[in-house]
């Protein structure tokens, strides 16, 4: 397994936001993380990304327990997060954004040509056809193109696990489809993808497995092929569905 979370717990003061969460993601698969508002999706992501310290449990990468205490640690382990608000600089062009903070240089001088070529190769490897001019400012791109740039930025660095936080939330139908295709390609290229979404149509369109959080606990992790939307909705809203889902300490379903 590329990434395993075992018994992960996180509390903010007296509030237990995550309790005893188990989740495993392997290379080459898209794992969707679903849950209602406040279920702990974002907190889980931030724990893996090193923004929050965990209070209990373990983060295991390649079978080795790791402590991730900052975004740099996460990046060093090949974990990249694409946040909802994208974190792109509108005034910089596509290439400049892709290499921001990790610019290639020849001596003191920026090697813009090298960066442009690498950027073109990366986008080509992702079969991105929507971005024609790599030298246009990101401000002039559509929402889907911006999301594509943000995702390409995350995979440019030999990352192995890409975490996408609601990548299609603000997109139209056609652009959503493009981004979903891109997510699928990431997994097909051997990356692990943790995909957070509210939209179950999108989730079923792209995910191999679906992990449902309910009030900070992992209700169930199901194979997308075996589950129905109805089941996932029940897992999200009540933490259980038929034989799936949470039980209390006495084995009784809550």
């Amino acid at each position: 397994m590329l990434l395993e979370l075992t018994g992960l717990s996180k509390r903010f003061g007296p509030v237990e936001v995550l309790s005893d969460v188990d989740l495993a993601i392997d290379a080459g698969e898209v794992c969707a993380l679903v849950g209602d508002n406040g279920a702990g999706k974002s907190t889980l992501v931030k724990c893996v990304a090193g923004i929050h310290n965990i209070d209990g449990g373990a983060i295991v990468v390649d079978g080795e327990e790791r402590s991730i205490s900052g975004p740099r640690d996460a990046a060093a382990l090949g974990i990249e997060v694409v946040y909802q608000d994208l974190a792109l600089c509108d005034n910089l062009d596509v290439v400049e954004n892709l290499f921001l903070g990790r610019e290639r240089r020849r001596g003191l001088v920026l090697d813009d040509d090298e960066m442009e070529q690498l950027a073109a190769e990366t986008l080509k490897s992702l079969a991105v056809r929507t971005i024609r001019n790599l030298r246009q400012p990101v401000a002039s791109l559509s929402g889907g193109q911006r999301q594509t740039v943000a995702i390409a930025k995350a995979v440019l660095w030999n990352s192995r696990l890409v975490i996408l936080d609601e990548p299609t939330a603000a997109l139209g139908v056609a652009q959503t489809r493009q981004v979903l295709e891109l997510i699928r390609r990431l997994a097909d290229q051997g990356l692990a993808v943790l995909y957070i979404s509210h939209n179950l149509n999108d989730v079923f369109a792209v995910a191999d497995r679906i992990a449902a959080l309910y009030l900070g606990r992992m209700a169930a992790v199901v194979d997308a092929a075996d589950a129905t939307q109805q089941q996932v909705v029940e897992l999200i809203t009540s933490g259980r569905s038929g034989t799936l889902g949470l039980t209390d300490q006495n084995g009784v379903r809550p």
Binding site: L88, C89, D90, N91, E96, N97, L110, A120, R132, R146
Partner: protein, 420 residues
């Protein structure tokens, strides 16, 4: 169509050089329409102003006045170049004018009162600028006080500091010939031509090298004609300037001959080249734009945002010091008004007129120079027309407002054509 040809459309067998040039022009026009007006308003303004003043006051187009313009605009242009760095990160430095006064005063004290040689005087002025920038930047970045407030306070404090350094407002004369030559000296005729050849050759080598590299990597590149046209245009522009400045411009050539490229033009050119390199070809410059565009994104990308922002303030104040040196050199003295009055507003105006954005993320050193030219031409031309100071202030204010309006509108237009 494969992805490769889509990413690099120019790699396809093109429609011939004429078509490529047309496509290039079309691309530029599309950029302008989407709000990326760049230097266009400033260039158009310079041309319009020159035509207007040239017709109404023929002496405006005299060679003597051309040399005069450089001298009048140099200090403001220097300060404006520094301000661009602060504007790019989305901050403002209202104290740059009086910072230049403080630095000039320090230089005057070192040179005249202490009688030390000129390198120490100029060094002291620039070191003062660096310290001022460090203090301002640290207050803004580490304490989180808005730059508007910090530099407004510094604006007042530096005004007082100049008075204290100059012992309640005496005037210190500068006798050092080297310092006086900064704004008053001229090159020999042959030096002007030699400099022209070196500059054009360097520009051509850089441009052609870049073009060759991009062709070699089969990246999108401009047609060779466009590159050559740019080199040619620069040659003609600089050649004409050197030719005109090499003409005799003394009113009484028998008594005193006045020819050659003013030294201050060379200084402006060198500063322009250095800071353009820093802004566009170094990692630091890239990070300046990133911080101005989206500081949060820069933080997440691992940019040391605090250091970048403080450095911008340091550069701004150091360039204010250079502006102060130029102003002191031109006046051959320093008084409590050096760097005061409208110097700051003209400098901010110059940067904004040239295309720097008050909203951050946008601006070039070229903008400061072009905007500085507009400001200098307006003041010079209206002075020749004999307009009162009141009218001149009013017109300059109106031009600044117009430039800020264009800035705000092009921003809105960019939004309109941008997302979604």
């Amino acid at each position: 169509m494969s992805a490769a040809t889509e990413v690099r459309p120019e790699a396809e067998p093109g429609p011939g050089p004429a078509g490529a040039v047309a496509a290039h022009v079309k691309g530029y026009w599309a950029e302008v329409r989407s709000g990326e007006v760049g230097a266009l308003p400033a260039v158009a303004g310079i041309i319009a102003l020159c035509v207007f003043f040239g017709i109404s006051q023929p002496v405006f187009l005299s060679v003597g006045n051309l040399a005069n313009l450089f001298g009048q605009g140099a200090a403001v242009a220097c300060i404006a170049m520094g301000l661009v760095f602060v504007l790019v990160i989305g901050e403002i430095d209202l104290s740059a004018g009086f910072a230049s006064g403080v630095c000039a005063s320090i230089m005057a004290v070192v040179l005249t009162d202490m009688g030390l040689p000129w390198p120490l005087g100029i060094g002291a002025a620039i070191a003062t600028g660096v310290v001022i920038g460090l203090v301002l930047g640290t207050l803004v970045v580490k304490l989180g006080i808005p730059s508007f407030v910090v530099t407004l306070a510094a604006f007042l404090a530096f005004q007082g500091l100049v008075l204290i350094i100059l012992k309640e407002g005496t005037n210190i004369t500068i006798h050092d010939e080297t310092v006086k030559a900064v704004a008053g000296g001229n090159l020999e005729r042959w030096q002007g031509w030699a400099l022209l050849v070196v500059t054009v050759a360097a520009y051509a080598v850089i441009q052609l090298n870049r073009w060759r590299r991009r062709v070699g990597r089969s990246l999108v590149h401009e047609p060779l004609v466009v590159v050559l046209a740019r080199v040619g245009a620069l040659t003609i522009l600089l050649g004409a300037t050197v030719f005109l400045l090499n003409l005799e411009r003394s009113a009484n050539p028998q008594r005193i001959s006045l020819t050659g490229v003013p030294v201050v033009v060379v200084i402006l050119g060198a500063l322009f080249a250095i800071w353009t390199f820093v802004l566009h070809r170094t990692r630091f410059g890239r990070h300046l734009y990133a911080v101005g565009g989206n500081a949060e994104a820069a933080v997440r990308a691992g940019v040391n945002v605090d250091r970048v922002r403080i450095a911008a303030f340091v550069i701004c104040s150091a360039m204010a010091a250079v502006g102060g040196i130029v102003a002191a050199s031109r006046a051959a003295s320093v008084d409590p008004n050096t760097g005061g009055s409208n110097v700051l507003l003209l400098s901010v105006g110059a940067a904004v007129i040239g295309g720097a954005s008050l909203f951050g993320g946008k601006g070039t050193v070229r903008a400061a120079l072009l905007g500085g030219a507009v400001v200098a031409i307006i003041n010079n031309g209206m002075g020749l027309m004999g307009l009162s100071a009141g009218v001149r202030f009013g017109v300059t204010g109106a031009v600044l407002l117009l430039a800020a309006g264009v800035d705000a509108m092009s921003r809105g237009r960019g939004k309109l054509f941008g997302r979604h």
